[in-house]
């Protein structure tokens, strides 16, 4: 086990290092993809806390992300330094998630899913119609980061990678600790978990807040990076489902799965955007359908030994299957 765990850490460290060196090895486009991979990895790792470990079908990621965008942007417009704005956004979203969790985590299954989708919609509608503060449907211009475009993208990449590493560290900590054990119990059978003395409400709220606060940071950094935000892009259901799909693609409830899923998905999406612009939404939909039927456990849960022996057997040699 320890060897395997060390392997996971080494793999993750190499991957982060690889992403971090893109400004020196690749062009601006590569750096932009690296930023997106880091950003979605952080979001997918966050979603994994509630959707993977706890098994609650949350679609509130876009709510936390969008709220982070707006809190970050508004604090900067109010005169806060950039880093302070990012921290304010993180804290604000964490508080929001705690309060929301108290109410919404009482729901289960379909009702929880619908409730979390409704949160995204309500926030979008409120921010669209509160034009005095948020600029309404016209969106908001966010103060640009200082320095040239090259420096800015390097800075954003660094910050996003830092958030990704923090999200990974939190995931490892949760996975190994008491909290993760409790969450996995809740995933299997909530009533039984309650019966054996797990404080179900507190554990679920903890998971919800952990799944939210870094989305707030990512949102605020994203707003500073792109310089313009509007309600439709910040609070979108497609965005929310995308993050969940990335996690499932890699392997929900695993430590490395969200990172693998985010990387594969971002690269695939870039490829389809670039080559099949008119059909990119349908292609993403087809990927989702394929995923549900053929990779329900995600890339990391595939039984590679079994696949390997099957492939061998097909080539006419004597397979080594059934040896276990």
């Amino acid at each position: 086990m320890t060897v395997r765990r060390a392997f996971v850490f080494v793999l993750f460290a190499v991957w982060v290092a690889l992403l971090a060196t893109t400004p020196f090895s690749g062009d601006n486009y590569t750096v932009r993809i690296a930023i997106q991979i880091a950003m979605y990895s952080a979001l997918a790792l966050s979603w994994n806390m509630i959707g993977g470990f706890t098994g609650y079908p949350s679609f509130a990621t876009a709510a936390f992300f969008g709220l982070g965008c707006y809190i970050g942007a508004l604090s900067q417009i109010a005169g806060a330094p950039t880093v302070v704005a990012w921290i304010v956004a993180t804290a604000g979203v964490a508080l929001f998630a705690a309060a929301l969790g108290l109410i919404i985590l009482r729901l289960k299954g379909h009702y929880f899913a619908i409730g979390s989708i409704a949160i995204v919609e309500v926030l979008r509608l409120v921010i669209s119609s509160w034009s005095g503060l948020t600029g309404g449907g016209d969106g908001l211009n966010v103060p640009f980061l200082r320095g040239g475009p090259e420096f800015v993208s390097q800075l954003v990449l660094g910050v996003m990678l830092l958030i990704m590493v923090i999200a990974f560290a939190v995931t490892v900590w949760v996975d190994r600790g008491r909290l993760g054990f409790g969450l996995k119990c809740i995933n299997q059978n909530e009533d039984a978990a309650d019966m054996v003395g797990i404080d179900v409400t507190r554990y679920k709220i903890a998971a919800f807040v952990l799944s939210a606060f870094l989305c707030g940071t990512v949102g605020a950094v994203y707003a500073s990076w792109v310089g313009y935000i509007d309600p439709t892009d910040s609070f979108s259901i497609v965005f929310t489902v995308k993050v969940a799909v990335m996690t499932i693609l890699g392997g929900a409830g695993t430590v490395l799965g969200p990172v693998v899923g985010a990387a594969v998905f971002v690269v695939l999406e870039e490829y389809f955007w670039a080559n099949f612009l008119a059909w990119n939404r349908a292609i993403l939909g087809a990927i989702i359908v394929f995923l549900i039927f053929f990779l329900p456990g995600g890339i990391l849960r595939l039984d590679y030994r079994h696949l390997w022996s099957q492939a061998k057997a097909r080539h006419g040699r004597i397979g080594m299957a059934g040896g276990e």
């Binding site: 009482r106 899913a113 349908a282 990927i287």
Partner: protein, 286 residues
């Protein structure tokens, strides 16, 4: 504007909403699947009716049964080929799957029909009913929506298929033991859900412009109506639809139209927490 007029507008809107939500509610209640395709089914029904009308010039009401049947076939096929394979999986799986299918259908519709808003114009004038003014096309739309909802109710109450659907909703295992082929009933139910969506879309296109951008809005309405009215029953969807129509109409007048939708969603969130069975729902169906 006086209260009578606002109420009348709300009821007209509410009847259309009931028709929109009743299929969604049926699928959710019987299959335990949140059908993210529902909004696109409605728009597809609207577009098909519009183009049939625009090319032939015949009264669109004639095309309504045809469009409904096409949608039934599509719904049956989607359920039979895709959703039946994962129908007992957790919410996350079924919801994500229908969302993926919706992305495909949405994309196909945007490419084939383009996103231009289209509306069937019938120019029937308006009637003055004790000082309440209503355009005739809306009254016709409301009547059609109520007839369709009533028809579905009659089918569910009296036909053999309808009783089988209700039996599966109440207890899947028991229904299976009684000789009901559950997978077939699932496919038929999903087909009926799509049929009602298509018919609602056809009615909607006679009253309001339809465009692919509205799929999300329709889906949101269906969520809200199901939670307000309660799941899986025709009367639930009717009560939920009328309630939402009247609430939107009044809150639009008092707070301004841009807040009407927000009020609906907030009400839904409150009801979710306070009374998840809905206004006329029965416990145990959630």
């Amino acid at each position: 504007m006086d209260v009578g007029q606002i109420l009348a507008n709300g009821i007209v809107l509410g009847a259309l909403y009931a028709c929109i939500a009743v299929g969604f509610s049926l699928v959710w209640g019987v299959l335990n699947v949140i059908n993210m395709l529902h909004g696109s089914f409605i728009i597809l029904g609207g577009y098909l009716t519009y183009f049939a009308w625009a090319y032939s010039g015949i009264n669109p009401v004639v095309f309504l049964p045809v469009v409904a049947l096409i949608l039934y076939g599509l719904g049956f096929a989607v359920q039979y080929l895709f959703i039946n394979k994962v129908v007992s999986a957790p919410v996350l799986t079924t919801l994500t799957l229908t969302f993926g299918l919706d992305m495909i259908l949405y994309n196909v519709m945007t490419v084939v029909f383009t996103a231009t808003p289209r509306r069937i114009t019938l120019d029937l004038g308006s009637v003055d009913f004790f000082g309440v003014i209503l355009p005739v096309d809306r009254v016709v739309g409301m009547a059609l929506a109520l007839i369709l909802t009533g028809l579905l109710y009659a089918v569910m109450r009296t036909s053999k298929i309808g009783r089988a659907i209700v039996a599966v909703r109440m207890d899947r295992q028991a229904a299976e033991l009684m000789g009901i082929r559950v997978n077939r009933i699932y496919a038929i139910t999903f087909g009926i859900g799509a049929l009602m969506a298509g018919a609602a879309g056809a009615v909607f296109a006679m009253v309001f412009p339809v465009t692919t951008n509205l799929t999300g809005a329709f889906l949101g309405k269906a969520f809200v109506i199901c939670v307000i009215g309660g799941l899986g029953s025709v009367p639930g969807a009717l009560v939920g639809g009328l309630a939402l129509g009247i609430i939107e109409s009044f809150s639009g007048y008092v707070l301004g139209p841009q807040h009407a939708i927000t009020v609906g969603f907030v009400l839904m969130l409150i009801l979710l927490v306070v009374r998840p069975t809905g206004l006329v729902g029965v416990k145990g169906y959630e």
